[in-house]
C-alpha cells in the first residue's frame, strides 16, 4: 500500500507540474508577490517581511486547498473516472491521500523557496520555531480549505459558476484578511476574523490556535458529507 501511495503522490505531482498555469500560480506567483511587496514596503522593515512571508504562505495554502483539491475531486466524479477507481483492488482513499500529499509537498517546496527569497532578497532568516509554525499552518490550512473547496464544488452548481464562486470567496477572504497588511477598519476586520484565513494566519505567525478553526472544520465536513450524499452524478 505504501508503494501505491508513493505512486499516487508521484503521479498527482506530475499531473500538477504539467499544468503550466497551476505551476505559475502555485510556485512562481507567491515568490513574485513576496519579492515585489517586500521591495515596495518592507526592504528595511524586518517585521513587515515576517508578516508578508507568513501572509503569502497563508494565501497560497488557501488557494491550493480551494482550487487544487475540491474541483479535482469533483472532476473525478463528473467524468466517471471514480467508477473505474472504485473497481480497482485498493481503497480509493489512497488515491485521494496521494492528491493531498502532492499538494503538501508542493506547499513545503514553496515555503522553502519563500524562505530562500527572504534570505537572499531581504536578509531575513527564518527561525526553526517559525518553520514549525509554517508546517502546522500548511497541514491545518490545507485540510480546512480543501473541505471548503469541496463544499463549493459539490454544492450542485455548474462547473463554471462554482469556479467563479471559489474565486469570489478567495478574494473576499484575502482582502479582508491580515495576509498582506494590517487592517485598521473594524468592519473589514470583523469580516476577516469570521472567515477562516485569519485563523490560519495566526497559526503560521505563532500567535496560537483559534477555536473557530474547529467550528469551520466541523461545519465544512458536515456540509460536505450532506452535499456528497445529495449530489447525483450523470453517466
Amino acid at each position: 500500500m505504501i508503494k501505491i501511495l508513493g505512486q499516487s503522490t508521484y503521479y498527482q505531482f506530475l499531473m500538477f507540474l504539467r499544468i503550466k498555469q497551476a505551476v505559475f500560480f502555485s510556485l512562481v506567483f507567491p515568490v513574485f508577490l513576496f519579492f515585489i511587496f517586500g521591495n515596495l514596503w518592507g526592504a528595511a522593515d524586518k517585521d513587515y517581511i515576517s508578516l508578508l512571508l507568513s501572509g503569502i504562505i497563508g494565501m497560497t495554502v488557501a488557494s491550493d486547498g480551494l482550487f487544487a483539491v475540491g474541483p479535482v475531486v469533483k472532476e473525478y466524479y463528473a467524468s466517471g473516472l471514480i467508477k473505474y477507481l472504485r473497481k480497482l483492488p485498493f481503497n480509493i482513499l489512497w488515491h485521494f491521500t496521494g492528491l493531498i500529499l502532492s499538494r503538501i509537498i508542493s506547499l513545503l517546496f514553496i515555503v522553502a523557496l519563500l524562505c530562500l527569497t527572504a534570505k537572499l532578497a531581504f536578509d531575513y532568516s527564518v527561525t526553526l520555531s517559525q518553520l514549525l509554525d509554517f508546517v502546522s499552518g500548511i497541514f491545518i490550512g490545507l485540510f480546512l480549505f480543501s473541505f471548503t473547496g469541496l463544499v463549493i464544488t459539490f454544492s450542485g452548481i455548474k462547473h463554471n459558476s462554482s469556479a467563479g464562486l471559489i474565486n469570489l470567496i478567495y478574494f473576499i477572504m484575502l482582502f479582508t484578511s491580515k495576509a498582506l497588511y494590517h487592517i485598521e477598519n473594524e468592519m473589514i476586520n470583523l469580516v476577516g476574523n469570521i472567515l477562516p484565513l485569519n485563523s490560519i494566519l495566526s497559526i503560521l505567525r505563532g500567535e496560537g490556535f483559534h477555536t473557530s478553526i474547529i467550528a469551520w472544520l466541523l461545519f465544512t465536513i458536515a456540509l460536505f458529507y450532506y452535499l456528497f450524499n445529495k449530489v447525483k452524478f450523470g453517466r
Partner: protein, 286 residues
C-alpha cells in the same frame, strides 16, 4: 455456472421508469451482447451491474456469489479510465502497481497487440477517441480477469484491429458481457444476444442464429412507406421503420407478385439482428 445473474431489476428516476423488472443471466464463457436503441437502458443496466447505481428493486450476482468482488472482473465504460495529464505509459504503470503486476510483463504481452508503442509517450488528452478506447480495453484486461463487462467496446475502434483485440479479449475463454451499436459485429462475435427496449428485455436471450429463426422468414422486401402500402399487407408480417416498410419474404409465397402490382421500387435483402429487434418491438407496441 452463471457468471452474471441479473434478477428483477427496476430503476426509476424522478418517476420515470428507466429499467423495469429486468432479468437475465450470462453463462461462463458466453459472449453476451445486449442490444437496443439509444435510451433503451443499456448503459444504466451496465451501471447497475457494476454497482455504480443502486436499483430500486432486484439484485445482481457475480459468479453466483452474494458479495460483489471485482478482482476477477474487467470493466470498460463508454469513456476512458485515464488521467488527461498523464502519458499512456504512466497510466498503465499506475494501474499495474495497483494490481501488483510488472509493467514489463504487460508491455511484452499487450503493447504490440494494442499498438501502444506509438502512443505510449503521448499525454492522454492528446489521444484520439480510438486510441483512448484501445488503452481503456487494455486496462480492463491487464489483471487477467475471468469476466469482462464492456460498454461499447467497438465504438471508435479502428476496424483493422477490432478482430485482433476481440481475440485477445476472448483469450482463455473469458466470459464477456457487452453493449454495442454495431449490430453486425454483435452478430459475428456474440454467442448470445439480449434485446432491450424501453427498459425491458423484450426477448429471451438466444444465439444470433436462434434469434433470426424466430423471424417469419430469412429474407425481407423493403419498400418506401407511401400511399398507405401497409393496408395491402394484411396477409404478411412486416414492420415499419425509418419511413420504410420491411416485409418478411418467403420465396414460396406470392408476396413478390403482389408487390410488383403496387411498385417497381423495392429491394430484397437477407434479414439480420436489427430486423429481429425492430420486428419484436413492432409486435410489442402494436
Amino acid at each position: 455456472m452463471k457468471d452474471i445473474i441479473v434478477s428483477d431489476i427496476t430503476y426509476t428516476v424522478k418517476g420515470k421508469t428507466i429499467l423495469s423488472n429486468v432479468s437475465l443471466s450470462v453463462d461462463t464463457q458466453d459472449s453476451f451482447a445486449l442490444l437496443g436503441e439509444n435510451g433503451s437502458g443499456k448503459s444504466t443496466l451496465i451501471d447497475i451491474i457494476l454497482n455504480d447505481i443502486k436499483p430500486d428493486k432486484g439484485h445482481v450476482r457475480f459468479f453466483e456469489n452474494t458479495k460483489s468482488n471485482f478482482d476477477k472482473i474487467g470493466v470498460l465504460y463508454d469513456h476512458s479510465p485515464l488521467f488527461p495529464m498523464l502519458k499512456v505509459e504512466e497510466s498503465i504503470r499506475y494501474f499495474t502497481s495497483i494490481y501488483g503486476l510488472k509493467y514489463q510483463d504487460i508491455e511484452k504481452q499487450y503493447f504490440e497487440l494494442f499498438e501502444i508503442q506509438k502512443i505510449q509517450k503521448t499525454l492522454t488528452r492528446e489521444l484520439s477517441q480510438g486510441e483512448k478506447k484501445r488503452v481503456g480495453i487494455l486496462l480492463s484486461i491487464i489483471h487477467n480477469p475471468d469476466l469482462l463487462v464492456l460498454d461499447e467496446p467497438f465504438a471508435n475502434l479502428d476496424p483493422t484491429i477490432t478482430g485482433r483485440i476481440w481475440n485477445t479479449l476472448k483469450n482463455k475463454n473469458r466470459t464477456i458481457f457487452f453493449t454495442t451499436h454495431d449490430w453486425k459485429k454483435a452478430e459475428k462475435q456474440a454467442t448470445k444476444i439480449g434485446f432491450i427496449y424501453g427498459g425491458k428485455i423484450i426477448h429471451q436471450p438466444k444465439s444470433p442464429k436462434q434469434i433470426l429463426e424466430t423471424l417469419p422468414a430469412l429474407k425481407k422486401i423493403t419498400i418506401s412507406n407511401t400511399d398507405d402500402f401497409a393496408k395491402n399487407l394484411t396477409n404478411w408480417q412486416y414492420y415499419i421503420y425509418d419511413e420504410s416498410i420491411h416485409i418478411f419474404f418467403d420465396e414460396k409465397s406470392d408476396l413478390l407478385k403482389t408487390i410488383n402490382t403496387l411498385t417497381s421500387n423495392f429491394s430484397i435483402q437477407e434479414v439480420d439482428l436489427k430486423d429481429a429487434y425492430l420486428f419484436h418491438v413492432h409486435n410489442m407496441t402494436t
